[in-house]
């Protein structure tokens, strides 16, 4: 039976069901026990599974993320939470030099079924060290699958897929989608979620709105800004197709290219920094194949290359949103 669930509950439900199914699954991280995770992604787990399998850690990200590797090498399937993605710099070596590479470096001997969950996104004045997305940075280094759900249905299905995947998965949840009550979240992110376990395949983008005039490719919270923009654009007679990429590695270039072939126009919307990131990769992936079939220059609206400012007026100015999308699409379609 399906019920409407906020994303944070969909995630913790997925973890709980996998922990029931497979005793090798366990969770580590800061405040993931009694607190249930600062963003609720592990809520209820400690009560269900106890201190052994739901382990609050010291503030030692290198140690507990590196420990996930050791545990995985012994057949465990650890889930570790990096509280905010902004903290990655204290633990990145274990993530990308070891967890991401061990399978390849060992010639396939070692498997790394590790899920690293982490919170992304701004919009609530948490400033330069607590508001970033950074998935583009992780997508650059080989060996990590990059999963970024935008609603509770995908969140549960992708979490179950991530846990069952034999490879390291970085699972990015946007704070502003979790449906936490104390943090604004679009209503549309909390959708019907089946009670029983199910999977959403990693590596498949989803057309969340069909249209003929322009493809808006994006992920995470920006999916809603794109959808809201598309609604208004429709009133102006412009039909936007909105693509939720859902995973950046593997990137579903096929669905992306097919959409752009149909619409002839591509706008990428990205809450991560503009340069050397997702927006460039998505545009290039399209133009290197079908650049000659475009009716307009491809465009991108991304976080400009500035640290996230604190003051609300400043942050609002730089965050991509519905209005910026509408303006860009109108220019493209003219």
């Amino acid at each position: 039976m399906a019920r409407k669930l906020p994303m944070y509950k969909a995630i913790s439900e997925a973890i709980a069901q996998e922990m029931e199914r497979d005793e090798n699954v366990f969770v580590m991280g800061e405040d993931i026990g009694a607190y249930g995770g600062i963003f609720g992604a592990t809520s209820g787990l400690l009560e269900k599974f106890g201190l052994d399998r739901v382990r609050d850690t010291p503030i030692s990200e290198s140690a507990f993320i590196g420990a996930a590797l050791g545990a995985a090498s012994k057949g465990m399937r650890p889930i570790v939470e990096l509280m905010f993605v902004d903290f990655f710099g204290v633990a990145m070596d274990q993530i990308y030099n070891h967890i991401a590479k061990a399978h390849y470096m060992s010639g396939g001997q070692v498997k790394m079924p590790i899920v690293i969950t982490t919170a992304i996104g701004g919009g609530y004045s948490d400033a330069a060290q607590h508001s970033q997305c950074l998935y583009g940075l992780f997508a650059h280094v080989p060996g990590l699958k990059i999963v970024i759900p935008s609603n509770s249905y995908d969140a549960k299905g992708l979490m179950i897929s991530s846990i069952r995947d034999d490879n390291p998965v970085m699972y990015f949840f946007h704070k502003g989608l979790m449906g936490l009550g104390w943090m604004p979240s679009p209503e549309e992110a909390a959708v019907e979620v089946p009670e029983e376990p199910y999977t959403v395949p990693i590596g498949e983008a989803k057309v969340v709105r069909e249209g003929d005039d322009v493809t808006i490719a994006t992920v995470s919270r920006m999916v809603y800004e794109a959808l809201w923009a598309a609604e208004e654009l429709e009133k102006a007679g412009i039909n936007a197709e909105v693509l939720d990429l859902r995973t950046l590695v593997p990137l579903d270039r096929k669905t992306l290219i097919n959409s752009v072939k149909k619409t002839g126009r591509l706008l990428v919307v990205d809450e991560d920094y503009m340069s050397y990131g997702m927006s460039g990769e998505v545009i290039t992936s399209v133009v290197e194949k079908v650049g000659n079939e475009l009716k307009a220059l491809p465009r991108r609206i991304a976080y400009p290359d500035v640290p996230v400012p604190y003051s609300r007026v400043l942050e609002k100015f730089v965050l991509p949103d519905k209005e910026k999308i509408i303006a860009a699409v109108k220019e493209m379609v003219q």
Binding site: P58, S60, V90, H130, W182, Y310, S311
Partner: protein, 334 residues
């Protein structure tokens, strides 16, 4: 040495600062919840984002900073208002910053966790454990320039389990730098109690791993902190190298505002009230006949006025121009 040997002015200055901090924090808390009712919304109200207050921990800041000159550096944590105030950071500009205003220390770009005042050599950041290496760098500068300024790195008990703690203490010790590592032990890292995260009873014991002095002091007694800090600062100024100080304090409030503190035993909060360094100091000053109730209440009134003026300044100040967000990534124009 005891309270008798400290000049009255100094004691009153300490009282003034401790009480100012408390007044500031409690006033800020009130403003923080403005616009956040009936439902708490982290992004709403005049102070959006996280807010970590220091009520109950004033002695660590005041007992240390009373010995410091403007050239001495203090590098704080996410919970840093008390150190900022004790270090003499302009209260109006700091408040304006926290309210996200153009007149703030950073023109609204930094915010509550990123307070910078170069004139006072004060800074802080939102990354746990980041202060330790940075203070080492100030120590290097002092040594290379032949100056006698010192650096204080503040970290919580949680921060002491971060790798930077180890690296920075070792480096400061090897190079005999004028750095004081101040661990503000409030027994909690968000919801994780120190006993569950720290393999040693007192972080000061870890000084042995670097061959430097380590002292643990009861933060309920600001005079004790004063004495321990004095010795460490003098030692550093004399060129005798770093010290490690643990100040045992209690958090009078949640980790951040809005923290339901469900993880926290009632007794712990009661203990916090008992160990309140401000109340204790007040009692001491009166009992020892060092100050009269009138003197103290005059100070309290002055503080309340000063804090109110700072709030008023912040409230009346304009927000920054939105376009400011795009400026100032690089020095020298961009």
């Amino acid at each position: 040495m005891g309270v008798e040997e400290i000049p009255k002015e100094t004691l009153l200055e300490m009282y003034r600062t401790m009480h100012k901090i408390r007044t500031y924090e409690e006033t800020l808390a009130k403003w923080y919840y403005e616009g956040k009712s009936p439902r708490f919304d982290i992004s709403a109200g005049p102070i959006p984002g996280e807010l970590h207050l220091s009520s109950g921990q004033e002695s660590a800041a005041v007992g240390m900073c009373i010995h410091l000159k403007p050239e001495d550096a203090v590098i704080g944590t996410h919970r840093a208002h008390h150190f900022a105030i004790a270090k003499g950071v302009d209260l109006k500009k700091m408040t304006a910053e926290i309210f996200g205003k153009a007149t703030g220390l950073s023109g609204g770009k930094g915010g509550h966790m990123h307070l910078f005042d170069v004139s006072k050599n004060f800074s802080c950041s939102g990354i746990v454990g980041a202060s330790f290496p940075q203070a080492v760098g100030v120590g290097i500068a002092a040594k290379l320039k032949g100056e006698d300024y010192v650096a204080v790195a503040v970290g919580g008990d949680g921060a002491a389990n971060q790798g930077t703690f180890h690296e920075a203490l070792n480096l400061a010790a090897v190079w005999k730098l004028p750095v004081i590592f101040l661990i503000e032990d409030n027994g909690w890292a968000i919801s994780v109690p120190k006993e569950k995260s720290t393999a040693v009873a007192k972080n000061s014991e870890r000084a042995k791993a670097y061959g430097i002095p380590g002292v643990s002091v009861d933060g309920a007694d600001v005079i004790a902190v004063y004495e321990v800090a004095k010795e460490a600062v003098e030692r550093a100024r004399r060129g005798e190298g770093p010290s490690l100080i643990e100040v045992r304090t209690y958090r009078l409030r949640g980790h951040f505002e809005g923290d339901p503190q469900l993880y926290r035993p009632k007794e712990d909060l009661e203990l916090a009230k008992e160990k309140d360094p401000l109340r204790n100091f007040e009692k001491l000053l009166l009992e020892k006949g060092i100050a009269t109730e009138e003197e103290l209440s005059r100070i309290r009134e002055e503080n309340e006025k000063e804090v109110q003026e700072a709030i008023d300044f912040a409230l009346k100040s304009p927000y920054p121009e939105p376009e400011e967000a795009l400026k100032g990534v690089f020095a020298g124009g961009d």
